[in-house]
Each structure stands twice: as structure tokens, then as C-alpha cells.
Symmetry: C2
Subunit: 237 residues, 2 copies
């Protein structure tokens, strides 16, 4: 009996129509749909999206523990635990499709599981089904090009070090700041200093029913947007 | 009578299965499918993809002149000419769907038409349907994460200035070099200098029937790969 395949399936940014045919086909043919169980709302949105697209029938919905913590030991233990659950299914010849918002190889918990699944189930294939990213969806809301001709785009998770955000502003023509939720005020200050405030726009949950786009960033000063928020700065008009 | 809507529709990186439901729905409901006519093979691949997905029926296939030149006057004239053809259809109330490989706002000729169509058909809506990018497809081939946790990704068109490639290597954790076709040897030299040669892989036409992935970059020294080639460098393991 062949081992199952472990798929990371990008279901797109949150608009159910932005799922690909490939994602649907892989999900339909997989016996197990794995979904990270965490405090964030991404997993439940990903599950909603695919529930709207096809009938689950007798597929197993496998919830994987994915705590939101910075404690490395806790993270490693939970990833190993999740990989054990996945490897058990793979060993029975079942394909396991791990669903993720956006793309499975850009800020997705899927990539953290790869080394553990490789170790525990070395004979299983591991494949990624790419998806439409949240930043493409955000740009489309405003119909703003992310890159033309010789322009560079940098994608920076802004929740960690503001110094990296400052560097990024200088190193590309378009800057996508992801995970801005915990650093809004500092980012607005940096943009103001760099004279880029009027080149920036804020998007939350692009393509979700509650999507929001804000072009005057000073309006969100002092607020705490959620995890699915980003700021895009395009220097050139 | 309402004016038509001008859509930029990303049909994905080249694998027909990587088109989204939204792209299919917009293409089905549009009276006109616009496709750039140029010497590159992207347009014909985009057309092949959608021909496989649905029946064109009596839709008009509108070829738009898009010469590959750096002469600004020639470019502007041809874009205006293309926008006139689009605006004529929009004025008749027809929706026009401009198809593009990948995403319509990342290195796509769609974005160049936006200002001209806005000027010629100010009452028409202009919308972008985001698509899966070529770099997501390339990463998925090798199942290599583009970004985890606090990592930055920079996307750089490498055909223009090698100095910008050098800067990019220092400014992010993952570097995606697009349009590497005319600069392979210089890029390999830079990667070698930076000690990043063994962190890099080359992908051509990810998801196309003739896709190619090369992990030993010295093997492509002196060659001239085509426009749909890229090099991805991931510093962290």
C-alpha cells in the first residue's frame, strides 16, 4: 500500500471565489482535511470557504493543535504532536490536506509541519498547492499595481522589529507590511518621517465579508486592528 | 445603459488548474476577452489555459497591441491604441476581461492600461481579479517556504540593474529574482560572492508542461533561459 500524500492547500485570501480548481480537486480527493486549531480566526475562515465549495461527505476533519506562543519548546512539542496525527493517517494510505488561508508557503503554519512530517513519515510525498495571497487581494481592492517593469516589492511582517520596517521602506518601490496589528502607531510615525503617509493604504480582511480599506492612515492611529490587516505603500504613481 | 467593466483577470502561473473560480466566473460573464499580442509566449499560454476551462461561445477575442520595447513614446502610443479598443467595447456596455498570467497587478501589462482606460472611459469600473503568482508556483515545486514568522521576502526584476540585485540580497531573508533571462551569469557571480549559491534554485515555467527546476546553478552558467524563469534564494533552512 502506498503512503498518503501530505498537502498544504492554499484556499486563497478569504473570498470563497478565490480558491483554485487545484485546491478543490485536492481537497475532494483527500480523505482527511487538516485544520490548525488556534485562537486566530484564519482556520475557521478557511474551513468556511471550503464548506461552501463542496460536500465533505465522510471526510475526517482533523484539528491540529497550533498554539500561538513564542515559547520554542511549546511550539516544537505541539508541531510534533500535530505531525504525529498527520503521519498516522499518511501511514494508512490516506491523503491529508492541510488547509491554509492565502498561500501555504507564505507565513503559513503548514511550513512548520514539513520537517516533522518528513521525519515521522519519510516515505510520504509532501506537496504544496499555491494560493492567491492576501496582499494580492488587498492590492486588487484598490486596483493598485504592486510592481511594474523594474520595481521591487518587499513583504515585511511588521509586528516584530520596527527597525526592519524602516529599512524596508528604503529598499523597495512597493512595501507590503503584514501583521501590522500590534505596531500601528510606530508604523504611522515611520511613514510620516519618510514622507510616505499619503502613498500608503490600510486593508483589513481583503475579500472577507467585513473587508475594510482605509486611505487616511491617521484615522487608525491608536487603534488595534486584527491579525488580518496590512499596510501597502507604493512609492511610484 | 451602464458602461462595461474593465477587468484584469489573473489566470494563475501557467498550470490550468491554478485558475480561480472568480477568474472563471468573470471570464464567462464578459462579452470580450482581451489578450495582449506580443512576442512573448505568456499571452498564448494564458489563452490556452482559459480555452481548456470553458467554451468561448460567441465571445470576442480582442488582441491588443503590446510591443516589447523600451521606447516610451512607442509604448504610450500602443497603450493608448489598446485602451481605445477597450473603451469602445466598454461604451457599448460590454465587460472586457483582460487575461494575464499570474496576478494582474504584479508585473502585468494590465496595470499600464489602467490610466488610459480611466481617461477614455471615465464612467467604467476597473477591477482586478487576483491570481496565483509565478513565484508561489515556483516555491511550491520545491516545497520551500518563502516566508516564516518574522522573515522578509523581496521580489526583484533582475534584468535591469545588478546593483539592485546585490542590495536585495542583503535586505531580505528570501529573495525572488524575476526576469533573470538576460542576466544569469552576473547573478550567479553575485550569489557566489555572497556565499548564497547553495541556497538558491532556478525555476522555469513552473506549472507549465515544460517546467524545469535546477538546484545547481552553475549548470546554467552561460545559458539564456526564457522570460518565465526565476531564481529563488532562501537564506534560512
Amino acid at each position: 500500500m502506498r503512503n498518503g500524500v501530505f498537502y498544504g492547500v492554499g484556499v486563497g485570501p478569504g473570498d470563497p471565489e478565490l480558491i483554485t480548481l487545484k485546491a478543490i480537486n485536492v481537497l475532494k480527493s483527500s480523505a482527511v482535511i487538516a485544520v490548525p486549531r488556534s485562537s486566530d480566526k484564519g482556520s475557521s475562515r478557511a474551513l468556511e470557504i471550503i464548506k461552501g465549495v463542496f460536500d465533505f461527505g465522510d471526510k475526517e476533519i482533523l484539528e491540529l493543535p497550533m498554539p500561538m506562543t513564542k515559547d520554542r519548546a511549546v511550539l516544537d512539542a505541539s508541531r510534533r504532536e500535530a505531525a504525529i496525527l498527520v503521519a498516522q493517517r499518511l501511514g494508512k494510505g490516506q491523503d491529508v490536506a492541510f488547509i491554509t488561508l492565502g498561500d501555504p508557503l507564505i507565513f503559513s503554519t503548514f511550513s512548520y509541519l514539513i520537517p516533522f512530517v518528513k521525519e515521522l513519515s519519510p516515505l510520504s510525498g509532501i506537496k504544496a498547492v499555491p494560493g492567491v495571497t492576501s496582499f494580492s487581494a488587498a492590492a486588487s481592492l484598490h486596483c493598485v499595481p504592486l510592481a511594474e517593469t523594474d520595481e521591487r516589492v518587499i513583504i515585511v511582517p511588521a509586528a516584530y522589529e520596527l527597525e526592519k520596517v524602516r529599512d524596508a521602506l528604503a529598499s523597495a518601490d512597493t512595501i507590503v507590511l503584514m501583521k501590522v496589528n500590534r505596531a500601528i502607531d510606530g508604523i504611522i510615525e515611520l511613514l510620516n518621517e519618510a514622507g510616505l503617509l499619503d502613498k500608503a493604504f490600510f486593508v483589513s480582511r481583503a475579500g472577507w465579508p467585513e473587508e475594510e480599506i482605509i486611505t487616511d492612515l491617521t484615522a487608525i492611529k491608536g487603534t488595534k486592528p486584527d491579525y488580518f490587516s496590512m499596510i501597502i505603500i507604493r512609492k511610484n504613481d
